[in-house]
Symmetry: C2
Subunit: 338 residues, 2 copies
DNA sequence: ATGAAAGCGCTAACAG
DNA sequence: CTGTTAGCGCTTTCAT
């Protein structure tokens, strides 16, 4: 079945194909009668606009490239949900790419986006990315770029993230207010900005409430259940005394709770625990896990909205890059309650 | 910055743009020397192929439309992960669309896919979809269509799903083997095929082990924690005796466990519970939840692979539609163990 | 092995 | 209000 084009419609009506095109695009200088007739024939012939041709000619594709480090993470899936919802309402479609935290894949994805002539790119930078060359390439091509979560100021593009510092502060403050005197913090690789910020929030909360920062209460590792268990084992072996624990992400906090249970140490009675990220499981384990919500769906929505706002008049890069910072939300559950 | 095209490269080398095109596409009848030279200049000028033009002319876009009912569900996110991984390795990019379980949205999405001249569509049908018109439209356009999970035979297209019947059977059989005499089943809307099949598996397991099917042990409702709690409340009020429970999905099973805990009924000692879907939280609650794994990532991978295989020689619809049925996997955890 | 030429289906500037 | 015309950047057939 040969695809029907505007030429077929034109022939049917004895008008030119450009009139048809205008009618279909609801151009003001086309009579209502013609529009009506064109639409009728278009429907009858089952016409489908060829967006590829349209994109080639007009230079606009109505496609947005969305790049995430990891499609396996709830956080990024929620972001995609937010972006897709808003973008779709505004007539854009999502071209999806996963960098798998690799700079190479990321570069390939961005190449694909540029080659596909996307109208913009919304991305969260892969952990493996040191050289930002491929991101500069986007700007050089004058393609709107927006970064979320794993953002970096150096690029000078709009960003949406949450206030990790504030999240860390809230978590630590919450434990302090719940009577904790010696609060352990488990963190990770300090060149991931969010983790560093959470740590900083913790430190400043201690300072503000006149608590000392104690080296023996700080741990580092890779986000995992195992990390949490290990830390508790170490604390136990070294007989280090503590009554609160703030883990930089929920799975680590989960490991902590599991290991404490094995040692028969009661949460929250003896140790109060809080995580970060508000993973789905936290509400269902017992005791349920207090945590900091990152508003991931909202982050996606805000990213899309900011993008659309800045792109409205096609002066995306004209002003200093706007930065949206979302408030983290303290979720108080059983694990931290006195 | 004006985009560089094959014409620019041609000018630079004093050859025609068609030679450049051929060189870049590694056409056999181009000398190695020319190819080399072209590639060098292309790199130097930072040439980026315009896929839009290529797609328009060739009729192939290397884009696959992926439609899911709900981007908020872990299940579909895992499927997307599987599809993206395999498709990406094979040079395809994913155009993503969410139907939100609405037939209208779904139709709009499929229109977009067709207008974007995708090379194929991989979809899971929205719950709200009764009329399959828009899916027939895809076939009429001779665009390869593959359905996963929410598949329907009527369309006569390749499908990938898990054996829900077998899953239901495995779940019920597992409870029987763990000594359960009276097994409750919670299901839902029986016009969702998967749910009906799970129920059928349950019934046949009972039959095979010479257990009667008892109406008072069967419940229906909308997948939710509340549903699980409600059922337990009803069973409790009516003082119905039971020692096993198979919920058609994990959140319902979670509600069951929560309510049993409130009644101080011990799982698994007094009641053994199993869910379906292997949601992330199941491993972390206590007692941990036994369930049936749906192999969602694998389902996505298999969908992509089958699509690619059938599309290899561009005779996608030439043979009777291939059906892949994945085996559900019984995950034995604490909630069902004697 | 390379060149010439046509055209995919549309948008948009210009002309009337 | 409608028609004419010229491409967008590429693939591909037919010549040479």
């Amino acid at each position: 079945m040969k695809k029907v084009t505007i030429h077929d419609i034109a022939k049917e009506l004895n008008i030119t194909f450009s009139s048809v095109a205008r009618a279909l695009n609801d151009h003001p200088s086309i009579s209502a009668a013609t529009k009506e007739a064109v639409r009728e024939v278009a429907k009858r012939l089952n016409y489908q606009q060829n967006k590829v041709a349209s994109a080639l000619r007009s230079g606009r594709s109505n496609v947005i490239g969305v790049m995430v480090p990891n499609l396996g993470a709830t956080f990024f899936n929620s972001i995609i949900l937010g972006i897709e919802t808003v973008m779709n309402e505004n007539g854009y479609t999502i071209l999806l790419y996963q960098s798998s935290e690799s700079s190479n894949h990321e570069t390939k994805g961005i190449d694909t986006f540029l080659q596909s002539r996307v109208d913009g790119i919304i991305s969260s930078i892969a952990m493996g990315t040191k050289d930002l060359q491929h991101y500069y390439e986007i700007k050089k091509n004058d393609i709107p770029l927006l970064l979320f979560d794993r953002a970096v100021d150096e690029l000078g593009v709009p960003t949406v993230r949450i206030d990790d510092y504030r999240g860390g502060f809230l978590a630590a403050e919450h434990l302090i207010k719940n009577g904790c005197k010696r609060i352990v913090h488990i963190s990770a690789d300090q060149n991931v900005k969010s983790f560093k910020e959470r740590f900083k929030g913790y430190k400043d909360a201690l300072k503000q409430y006149n608590r000392p920062l104690e080296k023996e209460l700080i741990f580092y590792g890779k986000p995992s259940i195992e990390l949490g268990r290990d830390c508790i084992k170490q604390l136990h072996e070294k007989k280090i005394d503590f009554d609160g624990l703030f883990a930089f992400e929920d799975y680590t906090a989960l490991g902590v709770m599991q290991q404490l249970k094995e040692y028969n140490i009661k949460v929250p009675d003896e140790i109060r625990v809080i995580g970060f990220a508000n993973e789905a499981f936290g509400a269902y384990i017992s005791p349920s896990l207090s945590t900091i919500d990152q508003q991931s769906v909202k982050m996606g929505e805000e990213a899309a909205k900011l993008f659309l706002k800045l792109n409205k008049d096609h002066h995306y890069y004209d002003n200093p890059p706007e930065q949206i910072v979302l408030e983290p939300i303290l979720i108080e559950r059983e694990s931290s309650h006195i």
